[in-house]
Symmetry: C3
Subunit: 139 residues, 3 copies
């Protein structure tokens, strides 16, 4: 059994930003040498998420409008009594999910035709990390 770990770093210019990371994770899987297994991709911060969905700008816009409706910024959240202003970011990332497990089959990410992996930042403009941990057997 082999376990391989790497990290991705982000520092977005906007507070909220969705970034495709399929290729970065595929490169880590290739570097791992694992041919059959799984890879965990998980946000290490509690105001960002990781999710699988469509690589289509219109849908990404729809996601962001929808999240603003379900978990609005600017409400009188109790969390803000600590001096924070990002309670909505904690809620939004909860809707999107903060981690995924991707299957590795014959040395590659075993994804369906439209599956793309995204990092979803809801409180950016500072350094954030994602852990990528692959487990499996090598060739």
């Amino acid at each position: 059994m082999k376990v391989f770990t790497d990290y991705l770093s982000f520092n977005t210019s906007k507070r909220q930003e969705f970034i495709r990371i399929t290729d970065e994770v595929a490169a880590i899987v290739k570097a791992s040498g694992i041919v059959e297994g799984i890879v965990l991709v998980s946000a290490m911060h509690i105001t960002s998420g990781v999710y699988v969905n469509d690589w289509e700008d219109g849908l990404i816009h729809d996601f962001q409008v929808w999240l603003e409706k379900l978990a609005p910024a600017g409400l009188d959240y109790r969390h803000h009594q600590t001096g924070e202003d990002n309670a909505d970011a904690h809620l939004k990332r909860t809707i999107m999910g903060h981690q995924v497990m991707l299957p590795i089959t014959r040395g590659k990410l075993d994804l369906g035709p439209w599956e793309q992996l995204f990092y979803a930042e809801f409180d950016g403009q500072r350094k954030k990390r994602v852990v990528v941990k692959a487990l499996g057997v090598d060739g």
Copy 2:
């Protein structure tokens, strides 16, 4: 360490349909020969999900009514400018989740008394797949 992979296929007659798949995944785990480990069950399409909850028709109805309220069909989604009409299906599957990891203990799915596994289709009437990948040690 052993890794075992299989796939389930679906082609629902209705656009939205929830299908119990606990037995199908249990059979794959049995075929794998793995006695201690985990199994990833993950939708390979971005308008369907996989979730664990109650096998009770009333609750399944409640889930569907609730999802329609949180992520309605028929709104003026930007994704629809591409010719698609299924933006709500992408949102609904995000609420339900698109994958689960189930523990395998003593050769069987290690589930609580009421845990049942479901495939949730939100844009069916065409072929869809779910990947089932088990990892662990055999007997």
Copy 3:
């Protein structure tokens, strides 16, 4: 490869209660002897969840208010025709998620600075369990 399994038990005094379990899971990981791998932490009941977020009472209050808005108790749910009264608990746990995978690196949970693990009970006052299953390589 090593696989190590344990269970946590809960019997909350209130119907709804969020309980931090980071230390309990860290202790299980230490007991497992696994130095590189992952650990699955998954609710075995369908009216409770497991999630990663902030250890801050104000935010926990915000989560609970928010869930009550998105998935209210006391509606005329069809599930209640079976005699149950907890349909909202099934929905709330779906929003929060019912399981997480945590990375194990150099023998410890590989968490970001603010990541804390919680058990979220939505229909307590009775015994519930969480399965903790660690996979990986030992030292």
